[in-house]
């Protein structure tokens, strides 16, 4: 059983004790499980999560896949901010946090309570690594996302900077403004700016390996070998039988 360790959803204070039975409690337990992949662009994480999802889907498991920045609620604001380049590090971070909160409150938490195995392509660590690279305070960021449930496993896909950057640049004709970190004024050259920005993000991810119990995955390994390893780790750490179809349960 995983728990939410944050005190965000705290017991109601004297002032807000109007409906105690409706207010959430500090620590919640749920029957679901949360598996997360993290890593810089081009590290191979999405490919690996897709393969993991296919494996579980084909097996008939109770799963749900969710990815970063997919909520329709804040999409228009994000688009407007990006098009007109209005976003500062703070508002960029808050808008993504609002988006994540929406997904967390309306998708991830209900699914975890409903006993689903939730697979997330990017999670709060993406915000920690990326927004800290924009010089938001790490302490402020940790507080901002303290409502998020802690994953059961966080896979961190790590590929050398050159490998990852080349994978992205080769596949994309034009890097977007914020994606390349152009708002930081790192370089006038978009590809160069992207590289410097990704390097900062990579360093921030590396610092979280220990503090956030990342499972380090070598993004340069062959796809099928890496996937085999990933499946073994999931089977080891998550009680998959809980999510299996009835026919497979004993």
């Amino acid at each position: 059983m995983a728990t939410i360790t944050s005190d965000l959803l705290a017991a109601p204070t004297a002032a807000s004790a109007a409906e105690p039975e409706k207010s959430p409690v500090a620590r919640r337990e749920y029957p679901g499980a949360l598996v997360v992949v993290e890593g810089i662009d081009g590290s191979g994480k999405s490919t690996q999560l897709y393969l993991l999802k296919r494996w579980l889907e084909i097996g008939g498991y109770r799963i749900h896949f969710t990815e970063w920045n997919s909520s329709p609620l804040v999409k228009s604001a994000t688009r407007r901010g990006k098009q007109r380049r209005l976003l500062t590090p703070t508002t960029f971070s808050l808008l993504h946090a609002a988006d994540f909160a929406d997904r967390c409150e309306r998708q991830i938490l209900p699914l975890l309570h409903g006993g689903y195995l939730v697979l997330a392509d990017r999670y709060i660590y993406t915000a920690f690594a990326r927004d800290a690279a924009r010089e938001c305070s790490p302490h402020w960021l940790r507080n901002l996302y303290s409502f998020a449930p802690i994953p059961d496993i966080t896979f961190y896909f790590r590929a050398p900077l050159d490998v990852a950057v080349n994978r992205i640049v080769a596949g994309r004709p034009k890097l977007k403004y914020y994606e390349a970190g152009m708002d930081m004024g790192l370089s006038l050259d978009r590809a160069e700016s992207f590289r410097i920005f990704q390097e900062r993000i990579l360093n921030n991810y590396d610092q979280m390996i220990e503090t956030d119990n990342f499972v380090l995955m070598d993004g340069t390994m062959r796809v099928n070998k890496l996937q085999k390893h990933m499946r073994e780790l999931v089977a080891e750490r998550v009680d998959l039988a809980r999510f299996a179809p009835k026919s497979k349960r004993k």
């Binding site: 109601p12 703070t90 303290s146």
Partner: protein, 276 residues
């Protein structure tokens, strides 16, 4: 007119702002920096560049906030001060999006709280800070305190909310126009012939009766404000007093903060209808 509470500590720190700006230039910037922000300063902002003043007027709907801000703007302009205003849902970035979310009544409390904080920081970073850099007087029609109170009564942790807003600017003066919920109800009802979904806290299922729901919700908000008032040294004014009395009190406080000698003011013809 009763003035129930004022906090000498906050007065002292705001009055010393101009003086400490000088000190900050001499390399003693830390004290000043601490007085301008609640915690870590917003990235890219040097506190000693902000020569303007930030004056906040808080209070529930029906407390007379907007009326007072309109009058104060005219008074300050007549005294030769340039004024910039801010308020909730007025950012270009997400103001309209929040309107749309509120209209749907489908948004969850945390998402809404974070959308409001985005709205707040967009205005703060792109309008208010540049205005303060240019020496303007910023009049805020509500500030982080309303946002904190609304989220806190919905069970979002106070520490969490303070953490989000710790990079916000600390106002020079914060006025709280305090009115009883029953009076706020009368005034709001008179104004719009109905009571809004959100101002009566209907998302909180407090009561099926709209009047009861409004009173219970506004009472919860008021208790949250009493706590915030102590913590942040609000200047509490009796919002049930007459417009001209409340305005005279506001002018007195602001005049002493800005070093304006006389506080005489009579609204122009355009605003005369507000002067009750």
């Amino acid at each position: 007119m009763k003035r129930t509470r004022s906090n000498p500590a906050s007065n002292g720190s705001s009055a010393s702002t101009a003086r400490s700006a000088k000190k900050a230039k001499n390399g003693n910037g830390n004290g000043h920096l601490a007085s301008r922000f609640y915690g870590i300063p917003l990235c890219g902002v040097k506190p000693d560049e902000l020569s303007g003043s930030l004056i906040v007027v808080e209070g529930t709907d029906g407390s007379g906030r907007s009326t007072q801000i309109a009058l104060l703007t005219e008074w300050l302009e007549s005294e030769g001060f340039a004024v910039q205003t801010m308020g909730l849902r007025r950012s270009y970035l997400v103001g309209e999006d929040i309107d749309a979310l509120l209209a749907e009544n489908a948004v969850t409390r945390l998402t809404l709280a974070l959308m409001y904080s985005t709205d707040f920081f967009d205005q703060l970073e792109r309008r208010i800070i540049p205005a303060l850099r240019s020496g303007l007087i910023v009049l805020a029609d509500r500030y982080i305190f309303t946002l904190i109170a609304r989220a806190a009564v919905r069970g979002i942790g106070r520490d969490y909310l303070h953490g989000i807003y710790e990079t916000a600017l600390r106002p020079d003066l914060t006025f709280w126009l305090n009115v009883r919920p029953e009076i706020a109800f009368d005034r709001e009802f008179k104004k719009s012939q109905t009571i809004s979904y959100w101002e009566s806290g209907r998302d909180m299922s407090l009561s099926n009766d709209l009047f009861q729901s409004f009173i219970r919700y506004q009472s919860l908000i008021k208790r949250e404000f009493e706590y915030l008032s102590k913590k942040h040294g609000f200047i509490e004014l009796d919002g049930e007093a007459g417009v001209s009395d409340v305005n005279r009190d506001l002018r007195k406080r602001i005049a002493s903060h800005l070093g304006i000698r006389g506080t005489h003011y009579k609204p122009s013809h355009a605003l005369a209808n507000l002067w009750r």
